[in-house]
Symmetry: D2
Subunit: 139 residues, 4 copies
């Protein structure tokens, strides 16, 4: 059974918009940061992985639901749980909550991303690398 | 029956990431730009509307599906169609396609955002303004 | 003598921050958009130019001064004037002003970027392409 | 004499562009994050400080010089040193370097921001708060 990887993050001024809270699309960027941190923690080299020279793993679907506004300076935590969907595809579920003494772990937002492994030149689906499979099983 | 509002957009360098294509979360930002352009075209003043001084209309859900990669310099079009979901809530559906002589209008991506009208101080739901209702019915 | 290229732009919600105005670094992104539009107008293909496969033209210096705040929905114009500094280097000066019936063309901001042509693999300076020289002389 | 505040940061995928390195304007955003972390460490509440309800401290000038490219996954450090320029104005100098066992602390970039204290309603200059003066003298 998968354990969760948790990423800690302070809300930056650049994350916010004129309504005073986090701009909605930046909520997904923060989830992607959590994914990057988890990938790096598993030993995968981020630079070549995300540069996608031979194989790329683009996002084909993303969704996010917001329950609470996030303000500049808020400390949040993002837990993520990847799961295999097919030999070429995986999904990551994210839970965002306030990173403080909050026994109830109030949910701020919940997100989902789907990632498909492709050959960079043909852009056709191919199987996930062993490194990624190991990461999915370990996180 | 609603007609569609269409927004035209060139992909900027700042929209892209090291994989060479549009960063996924920026796809949603472009949809929001289309929403802003549509709102402005209906005569609503963007500055006060998005500042949310008395009433705010935050996004509670967003999702996007990608079918084709977008590269710096690509000219795209985004058509949007809002619909009322309840007295306090509306949804916008977005279609992204290449903005060129393409009789097939190849879909690049499809997105959805849900917006809820709230009182800025109490953050409780309230009814959409007449201006917004007019915009939803006209677009 | 160089004529100016002028780029027109509406301030998006995503450009703003919780202080209600354009986030400072986004002022430079808008200038870069003006540069991209000018480059594209001269016939240079943006995708390969900015992908930098053989030759890249990274920014080595950028500066910006702000005189007026910019709000969501504001329509602005950015005029740009490039100039050659050495066989491998050029600079672009940008003027931002409100895009409306304003005989005084009130300056909102003024910016500067320096670009150096390098070989992508060695990252050593090399001469600007004929295409870029033509663009600098024409704009 | 001022001591330096140091902020640690991993380069995110969203910081990069299609040239494979950090998008130039994002270099300044990272410096602003360092400023926010330093302000928060001094005990100033970020949310109200950056919301600028009574008094705001907008950036009137920013500049950055790049010496090395930054790639996704790179761990960097940003040291910052603020200095008072007038009763209403301060400047921050930033040094960016690789955050690793590098006895030479290779400079990646160097930046500067100027901040002016204004009354939010009149947008006229006013004196820096005691909190900010304390922060400038302590960092």
């Amino acid at each position: 059974m998968n354990q969760f990887f948790v990423y800690h993050r302070t809300i930056h001024f650049s994350d916010t918009d004129a309504a005073g809270v986090v701009y909605f699309a930046n909520g997904l960027s923060m989830c992607h940061e959590a994914y990057e941190a988890s990938i790096a923690a598993s030993g995968i080299a981020l630079q070549s992985f995300f540069r996608g020279t031979a194989i790329a793993v683009p996002i084909t679907h993303a969704s996010i639901d917001f329950y609470k506004p996030m303000f500049c300076g808020d400390c949040i935590a993002i837990s993520l749980a990847p799961s295999l969907r097919s030999p070429a595809e995986f999904q990551i579920a994210y839970d965002l909550y306030f990173d403080r003494e909050d026994p109830e772990r109030t949910a701020i937002a919940r997100a989902l991303t789907t990632h498909v492994c492709i050959d960079s030149s043909t852009r056709k689906r191919c199987n996930l690398s062993d490194q990624l499979l190991k990461w999915i099983n370990k996180v």
